[in-house]
């Protein structure tokens, strides 16, 4: 017991020495402002070390959330890892072992007190060819009744406004603790779907379409008086469907290949009892990972 107490005493005296000085954050910020390029992303390790956000250069994408250690960062060519390796349970070598898969480190790690800065080429990058969130005005939105009739929604300059109080707009929201820039949408219920349609021209050059969907924020906790939601991705005549069970807060993904010259694309949400839940929908075209 004396040994346990001694170890605890050492821990209590050692813990403050793992803190990061403001000057070290500023030194890292200076390097990033001088050396970062458009499309770079900063990954925090451990994922919750958000204090760095206060110092990092404006405009630089910073990621640190519960699942960010394993994220692909498909849209980013390079990843800066800002790590605090001396923190308890930081497990830097284990993190690097899985993080480095299909990524190559550029140069040597740089130490700034208790901060460590590393730069990686992101071999998991997949170029984006189309984003419904970025090009919201270019998509067509309609309500589709169970008999197949479509009622087009009206573009008001910032969102698509539909009957039954439905609105499709863009915002950054949380799904399973991670931020997504997504289409916020719901469906009127009773079998009527909300459908997003892309023209072949808008997705030309893409090799696959990706539909991600999940429930937004705290509304995702709702399980009672709501029904499961069905998401469908359709490229020309090919179609895939997945059901999002009420209370399931994970982000789900559907993909379909698409001809490089472009094909019509539809993403559909059907939910009989939506309640007050809103869904986060990411619809993107990308070059194939193959």
């Amino acid at each position: 017991m004396a040994l346990v107490a001694l170890a605890c005493l050492v821990f209590q005296f050692w813990m403050p020495s793992t803190h990061v000085a403001e000057s070290d954050y500023r030194a890292v910020a200076k390097v990033l402002s001088e050396e970062s390029k458009a499309g770079d992303v900063v990954l925090l390790h451990p994922w919750w070390t958000d204090r760095a956000r206060m110092y990092l250069p404006d405009g630089l994408q910073v990621e640190g959330h519960l699942t960010s250690d394993t994220a692909d960062f498909k849209r980013n060519a390079r990843i800066w890892v800002v790590a605090e390796p001396h923190l308890p349970r930081a497990a830097m070598s284990r993190f690097l072992a899985q993080f480095s898969e299909r990524r190559s480190e550029i140069g040597a790690p740089r130490d700034f007190g208790n901060l460590e800065l590393r730069l990686f080429n992101n071999g998991r990058m997949v170029p984006l060819t189309f984003s419904a969130a970025r090009q919201l005005a270019d998509v067509a939105v309609s309500l589709r009744s169970p008999d197949g009739n479509r009622t087009p929604c009206r573009w008001d300059g910032s969102s698509h406004v539909c009957d039954f109080g439905q609105r499709v707009t863009v915002a950054t929201h949380e799904v399973f603790y991670a931020p997504y820039r997504c289409l916020m949408m719901s469906a009127p219920g009773n079998g009527t779907s909300t459908e997003v349609e892309l023209s072949p021209e808008s997705v030309r050059g893409s090799q696959q379409m990706v539909l991600q969907f999940g429930l937004l924020g705290e509304s995702g906790f709702q399980r009672e008086d709501v029904s499961d939601a069905m998401f469908t991705l359709k490229v020309a005549e090919k179609e895939v469907t997945e059901t999002l069970v009420a209370g399931d807060r994970a982000m789900h993904t559907l993909t379909l290949p698409i001809a490089p010259e472009g094909e019509p694309v539809r993403a559909r949400l059907t939910v009989d009892k939506p309640g007050d839940r809103t869904f986060c929908v990411v619809l993107e075209g990308e070059r194939s990972t193959q």
Binding site: M15, A91, G217
Partner: protein
């Protein structure tokens, strides 16, 4: 007698130490979400007490009672009334202290008394050093130390549980303590709902005691059975009627002059008569039976009398009180990377959280003490008192471990186990000290000196890391994690809940006071209007600021970092600013992050120095 005098002085010293420490450190403890509600309810209850003195007839009218007790009637009135009276005396009348300190004063008294009771219970078996150690564990666990500051019910409930057990043990050989056991149980019922489980925890020990005491005494055993059986028979009959009639008809039928009331009165009357006969037949068996009977009779009586809210509608309102807690909502809670939302909860949750939130030097001793007492019990070497202490240490932890029981609220729901675990830790510490001393051979003066120093040195060594942690994490006690977790950073990586109850906002209030423009709109995320009003009333935040209820309406947002609230932070990034202006980062973990609207005048470039801030707080 001299030994007793020394013990009394030590107990008094512990009380003074605890009370002074809590009072001296109270000023920096934030108001948890429930506490502001209890402040308000306490003031209303105290107003009623004032009416009772000025106009007793008016005070006991249904209208007066409803006016002052309807608010927050989901908890009994004892502690809230004490909070309110203390506030009326020490703040309103004497102006001796700020409002919050005056409200909290009764909680400090009970927590300080907890130290003395732990000492007294441990002293039954341990030496003075180990007994003092047992008492100090109540102060040296950071989360407990935090809860002891609050005008809430959890630390008082731990005291009440301890008090019942103390009286129960004394009742074996001291006259009248059976009566005090019943009164103490009534006070516990008047404190918090957990008290309903005290008889469940103690009954097996009580029945065993009755069995042993009445062995070979037929008449005594028959009377003991009748005394204990009468209230149970009455309750079974009433329960049967409830099942037959259903809730609504049952409540209508349970009038003061009804058959059901008659059953209840007959049951109570019969148990009193049989107990009196038993006292005349066999004093030993009576002493074994009496605490149980006193709890059954006096407990509900004290509970009813103390709470005017029940006076005119006892059955309906007790039903409502119990019903509220049976159907309490489950708040989201992070545990090992998973957000727990609804039962069934993981069986190991309570044990795991205890292991990760009690300083490891103390937790290791608690485990050792519990393990060795369990072995002694199995080998039938444990005394009745030790078996009870072991049982009480395990009971609340086992109860909250049930997968269907709500798991939010950190460690506070099983706080009544902790004083008993402290005593078990003291047993282990004392054995360890004896073992270490035995390693020192020889009878030289040096060897003797070394042997006499070992208990002090070992006790200090074990307490020191816990005391340092308590000081380092204060006043953010809900954020503390032990060495076993890897501290708070280790717990964050493990995916544990890093704070709860919204009190950590105090870490950013000085920055807001120093940097907000006059009249600026401030949103304190997860702090309700009662808390904001209390921060203003206690001079912790500027009066001129406008406190708003949403991110959209704010110029300054103090976001409380919880996983289930991340969407609020992402909205803040879009609506206010993606870059924090300031933050409370405890051992690097984000707790409360302040964002300032981009169009607002820039904050000062340099950080604000916060007195006593041993933890990292950053500003830009």
């Amino acid at each position: 007698m001299r030994q007793q005098r020394i013990d009394r002085r030590i107990a008094l010293g512990l009380f003074a130490l605890g009370f002074a420490l809590l009072l001296a450190t109270e000023g920096s403890v934030g108001f948890v979400r429930d506490e502001s509600v209890y402040f308000y309810a306490g003031s209303a209850h105290a107003r009623w007490v004032g009416t009772l003195f000025s106009d007793p007839v008016l005070a006991v009218s249904a209208a007066s009672i409803d006016r002052d007790f309807a608010f927050n009637h989901e908890h009994p009135a004892l502690m809230k009334t004490l909070f309110g009276i203390s506030h009326a005396i020490f703040h309103d009348t004497l102006h001796w202290m700020r409002p919050a300190a005056a409200f909290r004063l009764p909680a400090f008294v009970l927590s300080a008394l907890t130290l003395t009771l732990i000492y007294a219970l441990a002293r039954r078996r341990c030496g003075r050093i180990a007994s003092v150690f047992a008492a100090l564990t109540w102060l040296a666990v950071p989360r407990q130390f935090f809860h002891e500051h609050l005008a809430c019910f959890d630390a008082p409930m731990a005291f009440m549980w301890l008090l019942v057990v103390w009286c129960w043990l004394k009742a074996r050989d001291a006259p009248r303590y059976w009566l005090y056991t019943g009164l103490a149980f009534g006070a516990a019922l008047a404190t918090k709902l957990n008290a309903f489980f005290i008889p469940v925890a103690l009954a097996p020990f009580g029945l065993w005691r009755v069995f042993l005491a009445s062995k070979g005494k037929d008449e005594a055993r028959r009377l003991a059975g009748a005394a204990l059986g009468a209230p149970l028979f009455a309750m079974a009959l009433i329960g049967g009627v409830f099942l037959v009639l259903g809730q609504a008809s049952f409540l209508n039928a349970f009038e003061p002059l009804s058959g059901l009331s008659a059953i209840l009165i007959l049951g109570v009357g019969a148990t009193c008569v049989f107990s009196a006969k038993l006292a005349a037949v066999d004093a030993t068996t009576f002493r074994a039976v009496a605490p149980l009977v006193a709890m059954a009779v006096l407990g509900p009586l004290v509970f009813y009398v103390h709470w005017p809210w029940l006076w005119f509608h006892p059955i309906a309102r007790v039903g409502e009180y119990v019903g509220f807690h049976l159907h309490h909502i489950d708040y989201p809670w992070m545990y090992l990377g998973q957000l727990l939302l609804a039962p069934p909860f993981p069986l190991a949750y309570v044990l795991a959280v205890t292991a990760l939130t009690v300083p490891t030097s103390l937790f290791a001793l608690m485990v050792l003490g519990t393990g060795s007492e369990l072995l002694r019990l199995i080998r039938r070497r444990a005394s009745e008192a030790d078996a009870i202490i072991l049982g009480m240490a395990a009971f609340s932890i086992a109860l909250i471990s049930l997968p269907s029981v709500p798991h939010f609220g950190g460690v506070k729901h099983w706080l009544p186990s902790m004083p008993f675990l402290g005593i078990l830790a003291a047993y282990a510490l004392e054995r360890g000290a004896v073992g270490l001393a035995a390693l020192v051979r020889g009878e030289t003066r040096r060897a003797q000196g070394l042997r006499s120093v070992i208990p002090y040195a070992l006790t200090s060594l074990v307490l020191l890391p816990a005391a340092i942690a308590t000081a380092r994490y204060f006043p953010y006690g809900t954020s503390y994690y032990s060495e076993l977790a890897g501290g708070l950073p280790g717990a964050a990586t493990l995916g544990m809940q890093r704070q709860y109850w919204a009190n950590n906002v105090t870490g950013v209030l000085p920055w807001i006071n120093a940097n907000a423009r006059p009249g600026e709109r401030v949103y304190l995320h997860e702090n309700h209007s009662g808390q904001v009003a209390d921060y203003i009333a206690n001079g912790m935040v500027r009066k001129d600021l406008q406190f708003v209820g949403s991110i959209r309406d704010a110029d300054i947002v103090a976001y409380q970092y919880h996983q289930e609230f991340r969407d609020a932070e992402f909205q803040t990034w879009q609506l206010i600013n993606p870059r924090p202006a300031f933050g409370l980062y405890v051992d690097e973990t984000p707790q409360v992050i302040v964002y300032r609207r981009r169009s607002s005048r820039a904050a000062p470039a340099e950080g604000l120095a916060i007195p006593g801030g041993g933890l990292a707080k950053s500003s830009r």
